[in-house]
């Protein structure tokens, strides 16, 4: 029987990747919580697990490097090594090194920085003598002393198991059985002298001892190894009697050394991607399959002894079947959906490192990171987003002094906002830095012959030049994967996903990059509501609360704009029936419902008839066959097959402000 360990490598890779990500998050916390024991234990376990797994599944380099780290972390969690800024730096460097080693192990790269210096540093911190444990330990404990012999030696063994051997689940007979496998027994003497009278006997204790004379070609160590578990508590003596010449020498058989299997050349790396699926997604699938089975039996029932007068029921059953199987198909596709926060995971660390390197104070805010995208899109976004964030840190944001002089807060802010818009995901990367320098870009474009001296392109055209190949100053040569990236590559990557990227900038105020990615599908948690006879869906994430106001809470500003007071806060009321031109809706808020929605800090109270229920809505594009509709961000298909439109909260807020702006200007 031989289990091929390479089948577990994929599992190990995924686990190791997650562990390294967890480690990073924990290290980020460590800087603020130096004394947290539980945190230190968790960090230790990350390294410990990676070490164990990498050694077991055939990655000795990773195991070797991680070994020193594990020793250090063990001492840190025991309080023997203090948590200092220097320690944290070394830990972060080690994390990067482990990532590089893992990437190498996964066949993704062959560039691994030399870690001699880092390893020495780790040793120094853990106050170990240089040259401490570094070699991967051989798993076969006796391989060093493996002394395969073609001659059988004669041995005399005295084995008196300790009285408690069986209390810990041991069985001396099994051990003797193992001995029998490697020994030619000449004589066995059982020693019963230790057995007490029956009334005094503890049935769980061991009182018997053995003296065994035997021949074996195995070494002392191999023989003694059998009794490893009980040697400390037992009386165990092994003597070698004069060696005997074997008349028929057998070819020495090497003891299997059991070296960890080296990964077979990186060619046959299993192609399977592993998906982590939340259990509730799987549960919903299971439910759907149940529905499908029910509709199937409906069909069976109707078609048995079918008569034409049963046709309506047949059609009903077929329709139900179609709905259930379509939803099943969509949800299975949905399993590939992953939250954007996984693409953002590395950014807090990146921003921290970069801002320290360039001496700027930067805050990173992410909004809408629960927006889901197909896994491949998430993976494809990693590098482009990273580059945009780096750019913002490096070029976009000013240093604290410059910001102060400009009357801005010392802390620069980078915001990554994501949301659905129709059949697309929109990701915006905004900074409140100094904006793009139009004139500089124009002169550079002229330098490169992209624009003639006399031409004066529009501002948008000028800014678009930054996407031109070779245009950007690539100050950063290496990102996490060691490749240089320019804005042109960013755009190509986005276009490769059928998306588009645009930018807008405001000198002195900041720059905003807008990435649009079309989706084949997206699922959103929503709340369905009714206005008149029409059903609409609100994204759950935009909802703050709902309430039925009393007349005293309502008033009209300048006689025209309805507002409601909620715990002292005054919010505009947007009557959806007015906005969407719906007849037959309840117009009096006190008889209806106000749903308070929020986007980027702005709130408004939507007037609706009633809330229906919460559902998971598969977002369908309205634009694919129709066009963009103001205030609507897409559609979904309800359980009964009808279409419900999804409300675009940011769009509504913008439209409302615009109108109010117009109104106040006109007033």
């Amino acid at each position: 029987m031989s289990v091929d360990l390479s089948i577990f490598q994929q599992s190990f890779f995924q686990e190791a990747t997650e562990l390294l990500n967890d480690l990073e998050t924990n290290l980020l916390h460590l800087e603020d919580q130096k004394e947290d024991r539980e945190l230190l234990n968790t960090i230790f376990r990350c390294a410990h697990s990676i070490k164990g797994g990498s050694a077991t599944f055939g990655f000795p380099e990773i195991a070797q490097f991680t070994h020193g780290l594990e020793t250090l972390l063990d001492r840190v969690r025991d309080g023997k090594v203090p948590v200092t800024g220097e320690l944290c730096r070394v830990l972060f460097q080690s994390l990067d090194q482990m990532r590089a080693l893992l990437a190498q192990g996964m066949g993704q790269s062959n560039l691994v920085p030399d870690d001699t210096e880092l390893t020495a540093h780790i040793l120094a911190l853990s106050e170990c003598e240089p040259g401490g444990p570094t070699a991967t330990s051989s798993p076969e404990q006796t391989s060093q002393d493996a002394k395969s012999s073609s001659v059988a030696d004669k041995f005399l063994l005295h084995f008196a198991p300790g009285p408690d051997v069986m209390r810990t689940g041991g069985d001396p007979c099994l051990l003797l059985g193992q001995l029998l496998e490697i020994a030619d027994v000449e004589s066995v003497t059982r020693n019963d002298l230790g057995i007490p009278p029956l009334l005094e006997m503890d049935p769980e204790a061991c009182y018997v001892a053995w003296d065994i004379q035997f021949q074996s070609s195995e070494s002392r160590d191999v023989i003694l190894e059998i009794f490893d578990f009980v040697s400390d508590e037992s009386d165990l003596r092994l003597e070698m009697v004069t060696p005997i010449e074997d008349e028929n020498p057998e070819i020495a058989t090497a003891i299997p050394t059991g070296q960890p299997a080296a990964p077979a050349d990186n060619i046959s790396r299993p192609e399977t991607t592993i998906l982590r699926v939340p259990a509730d997604k799987v549960d919903r699938l299971v439910n759907l399959v149940g529905e499908l089975i029910i509709t199937q039996s409906m069909l069976n029932e109707v078609t048995l002894d079918f008569e034409m007068d049963r046709k309506p029921r047949l059609l009903e059953a077929v329709a139900a079947m179609e709905r259930a199987s379509r939803e099943l198909q969509e949800r299975i596709m949905g399993i590939r959906l992953v939250q954007l926060k996984h693409a953002y995971a590395r950014f807090p660390r990146l921003v921290r490192d970069l801002s320290a390197a360039v001496d700027k104070k930067i805050e990173l805010i992410t909004v809408g990171e629960e927006t889901e995208l197909d896994k491949t899109l998430i993976e494809g976004l990693g590098d482009p987003l990273t580059h945009l964030v780096r750019n913002a840190v490096d070029h976009g944001l000013e240093g604290p002094a410059e910001r102060k002089a400009a009357g801005k807060p010392e802390h620069g802010t980078i915001k990554i906002i994501s949301r659905y818009e129709g059949g697309n995901v929109i990701i915006e990367i905004n900074d409140d830095g100094k904006g793009l320098d139009r004139d500089r870009i124009l002169s550079k474009a002229r330098e490169r012959g992209l624009v003639s001296e006399s031409e004066i392109p529009t501002d948008d055209a000028i800014y678009a030049f930054i996407f031109h190949p070779g245009f950007s100053t690539a100050k950063q040569v290496t990102n996490l994967s060691g490749r240089g990236v320019g804005m042109d590559i960013v755009r190509q990557a986005i276009q490769g996903m059928n998306g588009s990227i645009s930018l807008s900038t405001n000198p002195g105020q900041g720059t905003s990059f807008r990435i649009r990615l079309p989706l084949t599908m997206a699922i959103m948690e929503g709340l369905s509501l009714r206005v008149g006879k029409e059903v609409y869906i609100l994204p759950l994430t935009s909802i703050v609360e709902s309430l039925r106001p009393s007349p005293s809470d309502l008033s009209l500003i300048t006689g025209k704009h309805p507002v409601v007071s909620v715990r002292g806060e005054v919010l505009s009321v947007l009557a959806l029936h007015e906005w969407f031109g719906i007849d037959g809706a309840i117009t009096n808020p006190c008889e209806a419902l106000l749903i308070i929605v929020e986007n980027e800090g702005h709130k408004v109270a939507l007037l609706v008839d009633e809330l229906i229920t919460q559902n998971q809505a598969v977002i369908k594009s309205l634009e694919a066959n129709y066009r963009k509709v103001d205030g609507i961000t897409g559609a979904t298909i309800l359980g009964d097959g009808r279409v419900a439109l999804i409300i675009d909260v940011p769009g509504l807020l913008r439209g409302m402000n615009h109108e109010r702006g117009l109104a106040t200007r006109a007033a």
Binding site: M1, S2, V3, L5, I7, F8, S11, F12, E15, N41, T42, F44, R45, H48, S49, K51, G52, G53, A55, T56, F57, A63, T71, P133, S137, P139, E140, Q141, M166, R167, T168, G169, G170, D171, L174, L175, G177, Q178, E204, I226, D228, F229, D232, E233, P256, G258, P260, A261
Partner: protein, 125 residues
């Protein structure tokens, strides 16, 4: 009726490897991600009894040594062979383990056939 093994380790890949090896050797396997989960699964097992326990030591929620100590207090697990997964630098672990009632250990990293050989020291073939 095949023998039942309980495998306790917070590392998924490690658990998979051990489980696979055990199943290959004819065991049916129950898995747990930490000591507490292991105790729960032990209680839920048929007759509260399993034939073999293999446990890692470093785990969140409840570590291996605590788990072993607790397991030994359950009458059905009093004499169940318990093997710890240790590392070569954990010499003191072996003694600590025995003190709380572990039967033996296997040192990481190990090959599947080594695991089987160690199991044969505590369970008949």
């Amino acid at each position: 009726m095949s023998r039942v093994a309980l495998v306790v380790d917070d590392s998924t890949s490690m658990r998979q490897m051990v489980s696979y090896t055990l199943k290959d050797a004819g065991f049916s396997v129950i898995e747990a991600g930490n000591g507490q989960e292991a105790l729960d699964k032990l209680a839920a097992a048929t007759g509260g009894k399993v034939d073999l326990i293999i446990t890692d030591l470093n785990m969140p929620v409840m570590d291996g040594l605590t788990f072993i100590k607790n397991a030994r207090t359950k009458p059905s697990a009093k004499f169940t062979p318990i093997l710890m997964l240790t590392t070569e630098s954990g010499e003191n672990r072996k003694a600590e383990g025995k003190a709380v009632g572990a039967t033996g250990w296997i040192v990481k990293p190990f090959q599947p056939d080594q695991l089987i050989r160690v199991i044969q020291k505590v369970l008949p073939a």
